[in-house]
């Protein structure tokens, strides 16, 4: 399935559909998530909470097809995450992982890290165009990181690096945002900046979002679905029922 076909299918159906999904890590004695069934329609936002080790990151990575279920079926924009078409479906998404911190010797500049977010849309030898440069500038302004553009990413604090990755996620103009603990390294002021940027993007672009966070308060007003995971299973669910 090509990107155009995936994009067409993305305008109907669900962003994420999990049917009795079980995921286990190699060598683990119990599954990380157990029998999860859920459905996130287009233009909806889902907040996922739960204690450490509950399976929140496993769930978000299963939605993106980075982890494959050993039982059940997971689809992203109607594409089975086990199929090769998942590569195209992921181009409609942006991800901010929980483990994003780069060591001090990482020499890629912030500007380069932002440009790399557009790599999947590029064919051989294709450079960044003028529109994309503008989008990079827009995202940098939105997340207030313009002054950091020429600095090596490894020199930045955790909070600054997290804002860079959120800017990278937004400049890709995704149909779905997947954010894993987007406030974890941020101070109060930065949390406000990030929450406002995400909310504005979701509203303006009619995008969907799946957000894992201990602190959901800043995003409560855009939440359509809220679920709580404990020990790999959904223990609370509020919102849309399929």
């Amino acid at each position: 399935m090509g990107l155009a076909a995936v994009a067409r299918s993305a305008l109907r159906g669900e962003v994420v559909k999990l049917e009795d999904v079980w995921v286990a890590y190699s060598g683990a004695d119990k599954p990380a998530i157990k029998g999860i069934t859920l459905n996130l329609p287009l233009r909806k936002t889902m907040l996922i909470t739960g204690p450490n080790g509950a399976g929140k990151t496993t769930l978000i990575e299963t939605c993106l097809g980075l982890l494959k279920p050993f039982k059940g079926k997971a689809s992203l924009f109607g594409v089975n995450t086990r199929s090769r078409g998942i590569v195209q479906a992921r181009r409609l998404c942006s991800y901010v992982p929980q483990s994003f911190m780069k060591p001090p010797f990482e020499a890629y500049t912030v500007s380069h890290v932002l440009k790399l977010g557009l790599a999947s849309f590029k064919s051989a030898f294709e450079p960044i165009n003028g529109d994309e440069e503008k989008r990079i500038k827009w995202a940098a302004e939105l997340l207030e990181i313009e002054s950091l553009l020429n600095r090596p990413i490894g020199e930045l604090s955790g909070g600054q690096q997290q804002r860079v990755l959120i800017a990278r996620a937004l400049l890709r103009k995704p149909k779905a945002l997947f954010l894993d603990e987007p406030f974890a390294s941020l101070d109060r002021e930065s949390r406000y900046i990030v929450a406002e940027a995400v909310k504005e993007y979701v509203r303006r672009e009619d995008a969907s979002a799946v957000i894992v966070s201990h602190d959901v308060a800043p995003l409560n007003d855009i939440s359509d679905v809220a679920l709580k995971l404990v020990d790999g299973a959904v223990v609370e669910y509020e919102g849309i029922t399929s």
């Binding site: 190699s26 990575e61 993106l64 980075l66 494959k68 086990r82 090769r84 590569v87 195209q88 479906a89 992921r90 181009r91 409609l92 998404c93 942006s94 991800y95 992982p97 994003f100 060591p103 010797f105 990482e106 020499a107 890629y108 380069h112 890290v113 440009k115 790399l116 977010g117 557009l118 790599a119 999947s120 590029k122 051989a124 030898f125 990755l165 890709r172 997947f178």
Partner: protein, 271 residues
């Protein structure tokens, strides 16, 4: 006509820098085990070439590229078990190589055709092989230039790149093809059991000297070329097997890089 020493020197420089650059990418793509399997497939192919009486470069190339294709096919379906599958294939290819050498109807391991496969030979370098090596190196440079953004995205954070829709699997697959081709073309110079020294030692040494990824890539290629050229000279002067001389040189460079790191760390510590 190009002199013999210039021919072998050029072959050493091209194969050393190509293997060094490939080793850097293999390590950053987390594909070391996969490349190890492809390298042993090349060895098995070369040994099978001995039995069939075909130029071992071509049989090594066929088996190395086939194993890369096989691993690529498995990669999609069973990503978590790929290391285990690689090790199973590695054992299979090693067994095939040893069996083929045993069956190649020679009684002395130093017999020239077997020696070329086991520890390499200066005499195996021909202008034709040098041109093929140069073509492989040029193709690799072309590929990395064409997909610089994709490759940089993977080198920066492969999981993030994959989540954003960069085809990490396809690029790993292409990288394995280059590893297969480079090993098959270098095998007769280095020997099947020592070719890994050119693939992995330079990148490990480079990572001791600098943590900057771009510098690591350039240094890895430079150390690969230096190991190969120095080893070649030692082999020529002392009449040693060329593969062993190159592997020893690259090991000494690796040791020197560890000592450099140790001294540099001590110098940075406040007294």
């Amino acid at each position: 006509m190009i002199s013999f020493f210039l021919l072998t020197s050029l072959a050493a420089i091209v194969s050393g820098s190509l293997c060094g650059a490939l080793g850097f990418h293999v390590q950053r793509f987390n594909a070391v085990t996969l490349s190890f399997t492809v390298a042993h497939a090349a060895l098995a192919g070369a040994a099978l070439g001995l039995i069939a009486g075909i130029d071992v470069t071509y049989t090594a190339m066929i088996l190395a590229l086939s194993s890369a294709a096989l691993l690529g096919a498995f990669f999609t379906k069973i990503i978590h078990e790929r290391e285990l599958i690689s090790m199973a294939l590695f054992s299979l290819f090693s067994a095939l190589a040893l069996l083929a050498i045993y069956m190649s109807n020679v009684t002395v391991l130093a017999t020239s055709s077997v020696a070329v496969v086991l520890w390499g030979s200066l005499l195996a370098v021909t202008l034709h092989k040098l041109i093929m090596l140069a073509c492989a190196a040029a193709l690799f440079i072309l590929y990395t230039s064409a997909y610089r953004m994709h490759i940089d995205a993977i080198l920066y954070d492969s999981k993030l790149a994959e989540a954003e829709g960069v085809d990490v699997q396809a690029h790993t697959f292409i990288l394995l093809f280059f590893v297969g081709a480079a090993i098959a073309l270098t095998l007769k110079l280095m020997g099947g059991f020592l070719v890994f020294a050119l693939l992995y030692n330079p990148v490990v040494a480079a990572s001791q000297i600098t943590k900057n990824a771009r510098r690591q890539l350039h240094l890895s290629a430079l150390l690969g070329a230096s190991s190969a050229l120095l080893g070649l000279t030692i082999s020529y002067v002392l009449n040693w097997p060329v593969g062993a001389a190159i592997a020893l040189t690259s090991s000494i460079i690796l040791l020197a890089s560890f000592i450099y790191k140790l001294l540099a760390t001590r110098a940075k510590k406040p007294s």
